[in-house]
């Protein structure tokens, strides 16, 4: 009697353990082996703002998701945006300013997530000899900007603070990497680059250039964008966001290692990383403030005639929260 009960107990426990093992194995196998793998190409802007992507790749964060990621390194979010729209890539990284400008053209794109924010990425540099101490001093000056980006938006705001407009100065448009050449060639008296061009310019031009303290005046975010997404694209976006989520957690806990990864990836100096790193906050979110930011910039672009378009679209339709809601629902704060 006792022996048979012990036997039954033993058999039951062993059976239970086997069932648990099989269930665990099945769930592991299902999540790791039988998950479809999609190949996606992401146009990544060559800036430390794209750190979550580089870290995700370096630590193999995408390996655990449904995507095989290939990077197409581009200079600037606008270029990345263009590649997304032409279908050269599946996803891209763009600033909220680019999104604001492009939303006016009513193009078919969506933003899936914001992954970094900085309040000091775009900088205002003027020639030392021009003695620019206030905004008023910019009147009649030639300023180099990157058209349709945070660079152009920022300078327009600076001017407007003192009642000036872009008509009171001469704006010259350059590609991001060409801004410094315009300055060296005396084509402009001041220019508005973003990092790492701002840092490189100060290193190269040394005392010929003055860096104005504009920290906190311009908040910039970088976002994951794609063409208007169908279910499959949302699924891919979800997997990319999963990888980015692992990466941002890693960055939060491993600051030094993350810096090393970006330095290797973008061939940057330690001095530069130390210069920009405190300004960056790497976190995934999709909230109302992004919509407000994009909307206000779009309205501003229309009001100041920076854009050829005259009507501001409903910005919310450029936000797709489906992917984020599946990964980090508590980081989503937009009207559904």
């Amino acid at each position: 009697m006792v022996i048979s009960i012990i036997k039954i107990l033993t058999v039951s426990i062993i059976s239970l353990l086997i069932i648990i093992c099989v269930a665990l194995f099945y769930s592991y196998a299902e999540s790791n082996w039988w998950q479809p793998k999609y190949s996606v190409t992401i146009a990544v802007s060559k800036t430390p703002l794209s750190t979550p992507f580089y870290v995700a790749k370096a630590i193999g964060a995408f390996d655990k998701t449904c995507v095989n990621v290939k990077f197409d390194n581009v200079v600037g979010g606008q270029k990345a945006f263009t590649k997304v729209m032409t279908g050269d890539v599946d996803f891209g990284t763009s600033s909220d300013s680019v999104i604001a400008f492009q939303s006016l053209a009513n193009k078919g794109f969506v933003t899936h997530a914001m992954f970094v924010q900085s309040n000091n990425d775009v900088k205002f540099l003027s020639r030392s000899s021009e003695k620019v101490d206030s905004v008023f001093d910019l009147k009649g000056k030639k300023i180099g900007v990157i058209q349709g980006t945070a660079s152009e938006y920022f300078v327009s705001i600076l001017l407007a603070l003192e009642g000036l407009t872009t008509e009171d100065v001469t704006l010259r448009y350059y590609k991001p990497e060409a801004l410094i050449n315009g300055f060296i060639n005396n084509e402009v008296d001041a220019f508005v680059p973003w990092e790492p061009f701002a840092f490189n310019s100060t290193k190269q031009l040394r005392d010929k250039v003055k860096v104005h303290n504009t920290k906190n005046l311009n908040s910039l975010s970088f976002n994951l964008i794609s063409l208007t997404a169908d279910n499959l694209l949302v699924e891919k976006a979800k997997c990319i966001i999963q990888g980015l989520s692992i990466a941002t957690d890693y960055i939060a806990g491993n600051q030094e290692e993350s810096k090393q990864i970006v330095m290797r990836e973008l061939n940057l100096s330690a001095a530069f990383i130390e210069w920009v790193w405190p300004d960056y906050i790497f976190k995934l979110a999709l909230n109302q403030s992004l919509i407000f930011s994009v909307q206000s910039q779009a309205i501003w672009a229309v009001a100041t005639q920076m854009s050829e378009f005259e009507k501001v679209s409903d910005v919310e339709r450029f936000i797709d929260s489906r992917a984020m809601l599946q990964v980090i629902p508590n980081a989503v704060n937009v009207s559904q």
Partner: protein
């Protein structure tokens, strides 16, 4: 390893205590984790409320108005800043949000300072509206971050409670399984050991003195086994002596019985044995209606032989006669010394003719095998009386008596002959 039952119970109780301590520690840890998460949630909610107040202020008041009272704004902003500086201990993920909150707050302060620097007296209405929107955007960003912080804290609370519930259930299930296993194994060991003791006693009772070999060792039962095995050894030794004694007694009895039934000189059955066997055969023959014949043999001139050649030779002669008789009779026949130089042979299932034939064979054999003394061959003869059981023989003594009469007749008729007591001679 030899573990006592009390040690097993001790380990068992200790394991239960450890599980209980583990449970207690996890409950303490969980309550701490939940409390911390509640503090974080409370912190996030305070931030949300404070941001909401600032939003209300910006939305309702004209911040560009020359008479706008900054004190209210500053009071709320200072509270928000102080709140951000007094954050509870946060996780790495929450720390990132905290950094974002601080950065957004700095942006908010810078923007508000810029707006209030000279009330943007030179700026257009468009930029004023735009900057006010930017201000609201910053506040919205702070509120979103606060809400996310709160959501993470709430998720932590939920996860901690869920984990704790899972742990409590797991530990409880493990304890119940452990308790059941412990109780069953203890019962099993005690029962099996008691059965083994019982079997050992039963074997002991039936004379199979085997040591107890427990299939499960425990100090308590092993001490019982040791005492039992010592007792068993002593019993075994004593009982072996009794057996030997019994065998010896049986052997002696057998020898004594043989001695009491055997004639000391001739080594054939004596008179006592003769009557025992003859009575048995007599009863059997009468009951079964089978034949029974008696021969009574008397050595002729035995007294003279004794006188001439001495008693030793006489004894030798009697032994010789017995040897001859033993050789000539069947296995079922029975030879006994009746007295002096007289012998009786009981012939079961044998009629008178058979009896005469046996008697003749004995006489012939004796004639051929004479004894020699001092190179002198001594011829020995026998006078044999034969009688077969008949209806008139109610007792063995009557049959012996008739046989004896036949033998006297043989003596009377000249010795060395066989006489049969005919029916005519009967009553």
């Amino acid at each position: 390893m030899n573990v006592s039952l009390s040690q097993r119970i001790f380990f068992f109780v200790l394991s239960c205590c450890l599980l209980f301590i583990l449970l207690l520690a996890s409950v303490t840890w969980s309550s701490y984790a939940v409390e911390t998460a509640f503090k974080r949630d409370n912190y996030a909610k305070q931030l949300t409320n404070q941001t909401y107040r600032l939003k209300q202020l910006v939305a309702n008041d004209n911040i560009y108005d020359a008479n706008y009272n900054l004190e209210h704004w500053h009071a709320l902003e200072v509270t928000l800043t102080n709140l951000l500086q007094s954050s509870p201990k946060l996780t790495a993920q929450q720390q990132t949000i905290q950094m974002s909150l601080q950065s957004q707050n700095e942006n908010l302060k810078s923007l508000f300072t810029l707006i209030n620097k000279n009330k943007l007296k030179n700026a257009s209405e468009v930029i004023k509206v735009h900057l006010k929107t930017r201000l609201m955007t910053q506040l919205e960003a702070i509120q979103s971050d606060s809400l996310q912080l709160s959501a993470i804290a709430q998720k932590d609370i939920y996860d901690t409670i869920q984990r704790q519930a899972f742990l409590i259930i797991s530990v409880s299930v493990a304890s119940i399984i452990g308790l059941l296993f412990g109780a069953f194994s203890l019962t099993y060991i005690v029962r099996k050991s008691l059965n083994e003791v019982k079997r050992a006693f039963e074997k002991n009772q039936s004379g199979d003195f085997q040591n107890i070999q427990f299939s499960h060792h425990s100090q308590e039962f092993d001490s019982i086994a040791q005492a039992f095995n010592t007792m068993n050894k002593k019993l075994s030794d004593t009982t072996v002596s009794l057996t030997v004694m019994k065998e010896v007694v049986e052997d002696r009895t057998k020898v004594l019985e043989q001695l009491s039934n055997t004639d000391a000189l001739t080594k054939v059955a004596n008179r006592r044995a003769l009557f025992e066997r003859a009575n048995m055969e007599f009863s059997r023959a009468r009951r079964a209606g089978t034949e029974l014949t008696l021969l009574l043999l008397d050595c002729d001139f035995f007294k003279k032989v004794n006188d001439d050649f001495g008693h030793l030779f006489g004894d030798q002669l009697l032994v010789h006669i017995c040897n001859i008789c033993s050789q000539e009779i069947r296995d079922v026949d029975f030879l006994a010394r009746y007295g002096g130089e007289e012998f009786i042979i009981v012939l079961p299932h044998c009629d008178i003719a058979g009896g005469i034939e046996t008697a003749s064979r004995i006489q012939s054999s004796l004639a051929k095998n004479s004894l020699t003394i001092n190179n002198q061959e001594i011829a020995i003869t026998l006078s044999i009386g034969a009688c077969t059981l008949s209806d008139r023989h109610k007792h063995l003594e009557q049959l012996i008596n008739d046989t004896d009469q036949a033998m006297y007749q043989a003596k009377k008729n000249g010795r060395n002959r066989i006489e049969v007591l005919r029916s005519t001679n009967l009553h």
